[in-house]
Amino acid sequence: MGGQQNFGPVAAEKDEPYFHHDWERRVLGMVVAMGGTGMWNLDMSRSARESLPPSTYLASSYYEIWLEGLRKLLVQRGLITAQELERRRALEPPVALKRTITAETVQAALSRGGPTEREPRAPARFKVGDAVRTRNLHPPTHTRLPRYCRGKAGTVVALHGAHVFPDSNALGKGEDPRWLYTVRFDARELWGADTTASAVHADLFEPYLQPA
């Protein structure tokens, strides 16, 4: 939603608690615990949330979106049926999970996290200082190339190694590691004169880029 207008001012809450309702705690716990089962990956989680209809997405709070994404994945994987969600009780036997997070393994899993850097399969096509132009891509599926910087000219300012490629990983087509770059855009390249930024940076995968 970068650059979209008329959402109003940013309203910061003083001394905001991490959770405003107890159910938000439970959603965080469920999403992180189920994320550790290996039944889907982070990109699939993001894709499940971001592919909600825009009218639903914009009218929902963060944890409401998380819950909807979780429900969608549970049903898609057959872990819970739509009927069970409806009736609010188990009707089918459980499906075997790849693994579960237990009270014993939880701390190790959290502090390990989920690094996404992988061995590169090819040399990097670009280096720091190179002029690049983002491709004009509009896939109907998951991508991490923001709409506001498609088809724009920028400069590579950092290389981060090869990382899991979300566009592929979200579809279950494998990690397909690709080089990840930080690209610097002059703010006027993105917005013309209607900006107060001097530069905007985005972390972009090699398939999003072409030489300028």
Partner: protein, 205 residues
Amino acid sequence: MPKNHSHHDHEHGSELSEMDVRVRAVESLLVEKGYVDPKAMDAIIQTYETKIGPRNGAHVVAKAWSDPKYKAWLLEDASAAIGSLGYTGRQGEHMVALENTPKVHNMVVCTLCSCYPWAVLGLPPTWYKSAPYRSRAVIDPRGVLADFGVRLGDDVEIRVWDSTAEVRYLVLPQRPAGTEGMREDELAALVTRDSMIGTGLPRQP
């Protein structure tokens, strides 16, 4: 943007809101089917509610202010420098530190979802995840700063960083004047969460 369920939560403590019911239904199914260990879930919640928070990042910043070698390391390899203080894990696997100077101010956003450096700042505040911030930070960061009551000189360049992949950014704010000789823990108390996102400045001593 959030639907208001507070009516139920606060005025009728014993009644359950629609969201409570919806969430409990999923949770009880997950537990009944053995997919989720309730103790693990409690540990996850407790970790993010009590153990991980902006004081982790404040420790990093105060150390960088106090120790030039650490600062150089942080700017060179933030993941290692931050990891050396024990702050690792989810949403902090690949860190980059951005140094503010008298001429450059950095601001971090995630326009696509709400990516945030959990390992050093904890869970993100609601405004960071909100449409107003995610839409406007990349086009009008000065307008965003004004919403936070911060005004920077026209000669300051504002650089915005959209966290579109798994790199997570920590802003290293400028050390406030008049803090010479302060201890690291005293300095850490001046470092606000917002100053490490780039929507605020550190407290003055």
